[in-house]
Point group: C2
Chain length 263, copies 2
């Protein structure tokens, strides 16, 4: 149901978008494509367990999803990961051409910034989202240019490339509701980001081994990665232990779902 | 002297930048390359004639220049204008490769947003800059996909692609100092953007004619474009007429300089 409200909000932002027709179409093509919405759900759920209003938090959640979506469009480009498919359909540059895909990504990142700037107050939550977006570009750059295959490199790339938006989701959720919990929620976000990356790496293990790509699974092996995943899930659940109610239960379910992708 | 202070501020932001080494290097390569800084100077000068503080306005001016700089990097990419040179040196994708050029642009746009979000208050000025950035992407999309060669199309593309950042500079300058003048300064920005575009078009006329590119010079001819430029300069100077002092004189000089590029 929360996911349905996120879809509705994203759809409404695109319906009201004043951009040139093809730019609007290409942004909507990638943004409204049935993603799992993990990051905005995380922001709204953290906001909810700390007593925040969903109405206030929704534009922040949508801006975060726009940032995530732009990064996927640019990541799929031939000069980056060169992926022709995304979520079962042609990626943006295959569908609209490279120039338009670059602009669709630029547009979504700019729209995210503008949407945040259009909200009153909550400066710390705005900054948390763009700090995450900025660290993510750094992670992409490391990932594109890194040649060293060791645990330290893997950790740094992951922390920025994937972890930063999970941290942004959880800290922004806290800043919107109970800023004193921001540090606790930063650790929660780091832990969930790690959990997400490691399950992703397990799912991609065969392909990553063929391509010689650095990942938790290729560096440490599947068995040890599963141990890391179990530990991360336990740490995340320990942080949630004091929280009760529907949103906290949904967060616990989200952890189980993320974990069980690989079992 | 104002230009020197802009250079110093941009340099300081890059010196303190925490990004991955190659990302930081590629952003600095394009940002600190001796551009004319027309847009940030315009923001600071409008802010100054309306009694604002340069210290407060400087981060806004730098963010605007970062937005302009990202747009040049992405515009030069092979899938866009495919320009190998920029300001007398290899463009970003020639120097660092396409993937890194895409990330350098993404990084500068994100850094601009983050820098704005790190400033206290002045929400209207922040929004004005990102509204300009958003309209610009729309103009780029129109420019990339447009096939109609008429005055209406030219006007729309120009208004978004070039005009939007000039409007952003002048309205943000007003919001930072005297918000009641924002509408007057919007018209001033539109007029200067037009002046800038038309002189650019005159300079590129021969090349644009060879490539069949729509511009003021190719559509209306050089003589009529010069008449438009004279009219725009007169309208801009009329808006400035009530203002006295050093900043107003510098703005009048800027208009003369922009105009005289083509004479």
């Amino acid at each position: 149901m929360m996911q349905g409200r996120i879809e509705q909000a994203l759809q409404a932002y695109m319906d009201a978008d004043p951009s040139a027709p093809l730019l609007r179409e290409s942004m909507a093509y990638s943004l409204l494509d049935g993603g799992k919405r993990v990051r905005p759900r995380l922001l709204l759920l953290v906001n909810a367990i700390l007593g925040g209003s969903e109405e206030t938090a929704m534009p922040f959640a949508c801006a975060l999803e726009m940032v995530h979506c732009y990064s996927l469009i640019h990541d799929d480009l031939p000069a980056m990961d060169d992926d022709a498919m995304r979520r079962g359909k042609p990626s943006s540059h295959i569908r609209f051409g490279e120039g338009n895909a670059i602009l669709a990504g630029d547009g979504l990142l700019t729209k995210a910034g503008l949407l945040l700037m259009q909200q009153d107050g909550h400066d710390a939550a705005k900054r948390a989202i763009f700090e995450g977006a900025y660290a993510m570009v750094s992670g992409q750059s490391d990932d594109l240019n890194e040649t060293e295959q060791n645990g330290e490199t893997l950790e740094r790339i992951h922390r920025n490339k994937t972890g930063a938006l999970f941290v942004a989701a959880c800290t922004a959720g806290a800043y919107l509701s109970d800023p004193e919990k921001a540090e606790e929620m930063r650790v929660f976000g780091e832990t969930l980001g790690l959990l997400f990356q490691m399950t992703d790496d397990l799912l991609d293990e065969a392909q990553d081994r063929r391509e010689g790509k650095l990942s938790y699974a290729t560096l440490y092996g599947a068995d040890e990665t599963r141990v890391f995943i179990r530990d991360a899930a336990e740490r995340a659940n320990a942080i949630l232990a004091p929280y009760t109610g529907e949103a906290a239960d949904t967060l616990r379910e989200l952890i189980t779902t993320l974990r069980s992708r690989t079992f």
